[in-house]
Symmetry: D2
Subunit: 310 residues, 4 copies
């Protein structure tokens, strides 16, 4: 998190880890693990920006109060260590989102992000934009990202339509976390994007495809434990070494495919992080189920066999 | 709301209105309209039980605090006028649901209901049952209903599987609001149901089908303004006059089909209620959009042409 | 199949069995089993009309030539034994459908039925109606039925919209096989239907719901082996004995639910018919897989425990 | 179509046009347009291989006889002009597919391709592989391609699972036409592919993404009229000029997005081809609807404004 200059001036690029929320064994939020978590990301994974209280962070399973406490701790502990902390403030309820956006501004978050509400689904790009605008209005100085993840929300509005003239509605607009497989829509977002926007890709298993299409960076949960490898993928891509980039991407796909066959949900993902990082992030909250130890262990072993270097 | 006897002893039957949440023109909750609303339902529609803070009530667009205030007011104003007030306490977050369930017990609600969480979706009946149990545990004396609405939540776990041995987990279990079109699952719920349970149907447009399958009652939004007609449908059905029951059902279908062709979402439904009842329930909250006046008026006119008697 | 009077004059009611196609052990069509099959249906199941070469008959896995040979044999063997033989002539290709429709007229079928093409899906009711009309035109004297089964075809055009003024396009139109769960659409079809039309329901597991909504009859695969029981359901319904009708419907649901949990596809269904009837209808064709003997046997045992009377 | 060497020895790469089927104004197949069509593709679009009787070719709307006649004419006219003619022989019916595969071998097709049957859907990779094997068996010397297009067929079996040990079942197996957006599955297919296989991508609007992932070539309908531009995209990609490749991809996306907003189905696509090529391919067959002239003209104008160079 930059200390002096307005974060708005730095364009967000590279890898961003979508963080898990640490819980105690009693299932309460566990602030004490946040500091070590940040150190792990910077020191072991080469990760310099985080997206907190998102899907990976189980935000929809948290109360508004818990989200505030977590956001505050993430910002505090990231200070001087992370480039940017993006706080996800999207909720089903506009009122709750506004409360969190306003709070994010107070605690010095670098940016906020908002997912489409998914219980009542916006029927058009205009409705969605109006909803996003109402959130952005209470934190007008914070860089604003739209978070698109149609497989989870069921909201399939083309992002390109959301971007159309969006700075007229949201002057603080700065980009998109695009977690979808429609790369025509993605490409058009890149093509339309302003120089100070970041079009970030969110399906870790096919990042290379999005890089080819012009992605400026990526946000994902696997970068918590495989950021060190994916950083090499990006480096290879930037040097024009597609063969090397592809090799790393295929390894990630092999890992994720293996995990998928065993059953790979957020609970498994979290336990895999515990195994690989040594952190104690606990189990997920209901309705996400905890992962049997053996299952996470098996995936961790696969990880080590695919990436023996680390 | 029964004054003396435990509500648990009365089996819920007949029509239950899923109430809209009244808002002011500024978009804040409007408690002053709740009293007149209850009078309208009892006096004009013959409705004696209500399901508050559900989907129709835009609960997911409300903050937890707003839901508490509303629940309290509904219970207070319903006292002596309504047979039962079921307070829906389902949220994406288990913590929030527990807080609302505990509050419902304190304010004297007759029952609580819980929808399946839909952002993170329970993958099996067992996971869903564990989630429901965790909510029920904090309000063990309140009759408990599961609210099934797969088209909205995307949670398609067969309800019959949820019911299996559920009283071992939730001794206060009392029934289901079944808002789905799978009448095999519905029939099996009726067949399996205990004498003190209520299996209530929630797709107003095909209630007659569910009655034939053994529904004990119905919960729906259209009973807010068409309860008087649907009460006659139920009466005809109970007397064995299927022709008359069918005639009324077909009229409801004609109305809803007309509305659907114009575009019929919760915002339209709410404005239609305003038109037909004369109440001032306001507009919905984002992301549900307000309904153009002309559209609701057109549906209201259709209503009057289909049901000229009232 | 009526010998003298034009079939068009008799309104189709009651149960219609959607027949399986008999195959030899080599996977070729087996005409020799058709005679015994018809006898079994009339004598053991009380079934007097059949729907051949439909989904249950694996029509889409047959060549046009095979469908012709089968249709001819069904009509020949049904003569004097069955009231009506409806030959399904729907194909992906309009040309093929027309060839089969023309052939059905030549062989003396009582009626034809056409499913919506599902590879290229009609985008509107008008497109679908035009397609149906083009088929009907080559067999203008044959009663024509539209076959609606959206879960299989993915064509979700409301049937009520298909029916609108359809006799202007298809003077021979006589009804619908409605195999969907949208009973609002179904009810509106019943409400709109002309006196000489038959609105037939096709989801066996919830027939009672459709009867309440006014169904004139039913077409289904389970009537091949459970027609004798479902005939009693219909009789009870017609006498106003809903409790008895419901009891039988619940038994059918118990059976089908049991089968579903074991895995219930067309291959299982066919083998179950072999077990229960003693006929030798063979295995299905790829891509439908044959059913392990033990699985069909287990469902057959369940059948006998649920319906011990037979 | 190579004259001497067995086609099997040449690995299929580059662009392959999925051809439209020419119809007369009476809606019959129009063989006379096939010669000029091939000349147009080679001379104006730089296309040297074709995929005939596929989805773009409306194969499912053709009779088996028509498909044979067409396949024969395509092969005859392509001789000496095209590198490879892949004849798609997939049908709903295995019998029909086998008849077409056998015929393709007789007429000297360079390869055959088979889509997953979509009325009865294979439930697992093994079932699908068995189906494909049964087709391949009747034309064992012809290179065999699996055609994956889940959005159309609804068959979502991971292609990587289909490829597993497939040469044991189908020794003539040579590759995949992958028309899906799951680039993890696609990447794993590339990673697993044998040197003599071709993993071809089929979503024209995001080809660049697939190239980054290692695609060996592409099959699509837009290469009929935009092959000349997409050839430049591939050339730029191969030279490592991602900026130029992206520029062309974005132009294609702009065109297709424009068309999509106007309504872009196979009928529109075919009429657009007529406009841009000057060929007379006629209208599509029901249930695909013909395209209003003005709509195709508008898209053609967009094409010329985006690609002024041609």
């Amino acid at each position: 998190m930059s200390a002096m200059a307005p974060a708005a001036l730095e364009k967000l690029t590279g890898l961003v880890a979508a963080t898990f929320t640490p819980f105690t064994t009693q299932g309460e939020i566990n602030l004490s693990e946040i500091g070590p978590y940040i150190d792990y990301l910077t020191e072991k994974q080469g990760i310099n920006s985080i997206f907190v209280n998102g899907t990976t962070g189980e935000s929809m399973s948290l109360s508004v109060t818990e989200r505030k406490i977590l956001a505050e701790e993430w910002c505090k502990k990231a200070k001087g260590k992370m480039d940017q902390v993006i706080v996800h403030v999207g909720c089903m309820s506009l009122k709750d989102s506004q409360e969190l956006a306003s709070h994010a501004a107070q605690i010095g978050a670098d940016a906020i992000a908002v997912i489409a509400p998914s219980f009542f689904k916006p029927s058009t790009a205009d409705v969605l934009k109006t909803f996003l605008q109402e959130v952005a209005l209470v934190a007008p100085t914070l860089p604003f990202y739209y978070y698109h993840i149609p497989a989870v929300t069921g909201v399939n509005v083309p992002v390109r339509d959301v971007l159309e003239d969006i700075e007229k509605l949201i002057p603080s607009f700065r980009g998109v976390k695009f977690s979808g497989s429609d790369l025509m829509d993605f490409g058009q977002c890149v093509s339309y994007s302003q120089p100070h926007w970041s079009v970030l890709y969110g399906m870790d298993e096919q990042l290379l495809a999005a890089l080819a299409m012009g992605a400026h960076g990526a946000v994902g949960s696997t970068y918590n434990y495989a950021g060190c490898h994916v950083n090499k993928l990006i480096l290879a891509f930037e040097k024009g070494d597609l063969v090397q980039a592809r090799t790393i991407q295929f390894k990630m796909q092999e890992l994720l495919s293996y995990a998928t066959k065993l059953g790979f949900d957020l609970g498994v993902n979290k336990q895999l992080m515990n195994e690989l990082s040594g952190l104690c992030l606990g189990s997920p909250r209901l309705p996400v189920m905890p992962c049997p130890h053996a299952q996470a262990l098996s995936i961790a072993q696969k990880y080590h066999s695919i990436f023996p270097e680390q």
